[in-house]
Amino acid sequence: MNTGQRLIEFKEVTKAYGKGTASMQALRGVDLSIDEGEFVAIMGPSGSGKSTCMNILGCLDTPTSGLYSFKGVDVGKLDRRQRALLRRYYQGFVFQGFNLLTRTSAIENVELPLIYRRAPAHQRREDAFKALETVGLKGWESHTPGELSGGQQQRVAIARAIVTKPAVLLADEPTGNLDTARSREIMQLLNTLNSTDGITIIMITHEPDMAAYAKRVIHFRDGLVETDKQNGRAD
């Protein structure tokens, strides 16, 4: 499902960590464009700049040079507050290490982005319940992350990212900590979210098996896009 609307555009994006001679280029001029409704897998060896790219996509980090536009808006021209609002209203982020709030129930974790959207309490509860149900965690609402398995925690993290119905879901190795069976469940879930809810998905993965679920696979190497292919699989 590709509506053809341009969602994300990278032009000559670079990112350097550190200063002077100690500086290292994590991204060395990435050109990329992703349309609404796409399901993209980003692959590549460790240290090739995938996470760096994802953090810039999620407005958590800023590029050293180059242009990033989101829905036609030059993100580089947005201030801290506007970037926060962009994250709040358009993006859902699934972190590599879950990053759930400890000692906080699953439902409260999922509600969090809605709180910042100033959603009314009953609406929040309802949406959070639904999101947890979507990821297959009905009945686990009151459990804290400590009482959940890695796979369940990952699904809570996904529920938290999709509860706001974001325009784009950014997931950094969402199956990195899971066994194959659990990973497939997650991929099927992402697939459904993409095809039925029309959420654009950009996901980093190491495993070709998982990348196979995506419609497009981008390979990174040494801070550059090496290959960018549509998946042969048609659906």
Partner: protein
């Protein structure tokens, strides 16, 4: 939204119950101390005022030196009985004059002993101090003149020496003086400054001078002014008379002091209030320390929860949201501390008042003030850590280990 933030803050506080409690302990102690001090102080002041009122507003007290109290300046000549006589004779508005000399002595009866205040005076003392006998009689003229070994005892002394019943007609020993109990004082209870007014033995002044002090001095003179007559005028007259009797020239200051109850009240309540103010100030310092405790823990909390802050920022929290979260948390925490302190102080000062036998007076003002103050501590000491949390860069915060 604010309500939500408060709920979130309560959640965060509940998640760390023990630490939250330890954090606010300083505030709890500070608030408790301040409120208790002020409440007890107010009770003591009111008690002093009540007792002074019960003693009658027409009493005057004449003492040597420039002021009354423990810091009496020495070197001024003591009074003699003739001074009291002169006042009785010369000042028409005075109805009763009692020369008074006291010393703390051990009273012994059988194998019981009790250290008490032995006061040499005359029958007028009862009139001046508003006291009456519940049994027995006053001193006779001849006893007063001859320095007879007789005494009138207060209820506390009677109980300590004679137990539940009796006392009248008994023979008690004061130092080397063995004297007959001829009268029992009606009980009067605690006095100003918590002194037991029934812990007293009255003997004729001449007896006191001959058998106990061994000189003709009189410690002070207590007198009462006729109802309706001006105490100020009586004070002035006595002053003139005493200056004359003590041969003071116009350039010399008084070397004695005539105080009326208003002044005595002012002095006593002044002492109480000063003490209250001092203790409250000490307690207030502990409030400040409590505030610093909150800041300390909030700073630790910010560091500890850097990742959490990163997550919040990443999923759409604004600087403002994080600032409010930590600020509200600090304020809720310190306000809870304040409330606990108020509860403890209410219970504490109620029982302390009982114990110290001063009236318990609930003062709404100090409670409200203490609460607002503890909330303000939360804002002041919570702001810096909160600002620090809010300024974090999301990516840095997320990378924090």
């Amino acid at each position: 939204m604010l309500w939500n933030t408060i709920l979130l803050a309560l959640r965060a506080i509940r998640r760390n119950m023990l630490r939250s409690f330890l954090t606010v302990l300083g505030i709890v102690i500070g608030v408790t101390a301040v409120i208790t001090m002020v409440t007890i102080g107010r009770g003591a002041t009111v008690q002093v005022q009540q007792q002074i009122a019960s003693m009658g507003s027409n009493m005057l007290m004449l003492s040597p030196g420039k002021r009354l109290g423990p810091g009496q300046s020495s070197g001024s000549a003591p009074f003699k009985e003739s001074d009291a006589d002169a006042i009785a004779k010369e000042i028409s508005s005075v109805t009763a004059v009692a020369p008074v000399s006291s010393q703390s002595l051990m009273a012994i009866f059988g194998n019981q002993n009790w250290t008490t205040q032995v006061t040499g005076t005359n029958n007028q003392y009862l009139k001046v101090t508003n006291r009456s006998l519940k049994a027995g009689r006053e001193f006779s003229d001849s006893e007063l003149r001859s320095g007879a070994a007789v005494c009138i005892i207060g209820e506390t002394v009677r109980k300590k020496l004679f137990g539940g019943q009796g006392g009248l007609g008994g023979k008690i020993r004061l130092q080397k003086l063995s004297c007959d109990v001829i009268g029992l004082l009606e009980a009067k209870g605690q006095s100003t400054m918590g002194m037991d007014q029934d812990d007293i033995v009255l003997i004729p002044l001449s007896t006191f001078q001959r058998r106990i002090s061994g000189n003709q001095d009189v410690g002070m003179i207590q007198l009462s002014v006729r109802q309706g007559a001006s105490t100020e005028k009586a004070q002035g007259d006595i002053r003139t008379l005493m200056r004359e009797r003590r041969h003071l020239s116009a350039s010399e200051d008084d070397n004695f002091n005539v105080m009326d109850m208003k002044e005595i009240a002012k002095m006593l309540t002044g002492t109480t209030q000063l003490l209250t103010a001092l203790l409250s100030a000490v307690a207030a310092v502990s409030l400040l320390v409590g505030g610093i405790g909150i800041m300390n823990i909030m700073l630790v909390s910010v560091t500890e929860r850097t990742r959490e802050i990163g997550v919040r920022l990443a999923i759409g929290a604004l600087e403002y949201d994080v600032l409010m979260q930590f600020l509200v948390e600090a304020v809720v925490l310190s306000s809870l501390g304040g409330l606990i302190g108020i509860a403890l102080a209410t219970a504490g000062s109620f029982f302390a008042a009982r114990l110290m036998q001063v009236p318990y007076i609930f003062i709404p003002g100090i409670n409200v003030l203490a609460f607002l103050f503890s909330a303000a501590i939360g804002i002041i000491f919570g702001f810096f850590p909160a600002k620090r949390a809010a300024m974090l860069d999301p990516i840095d915060a997320l990378r924090h280990e």
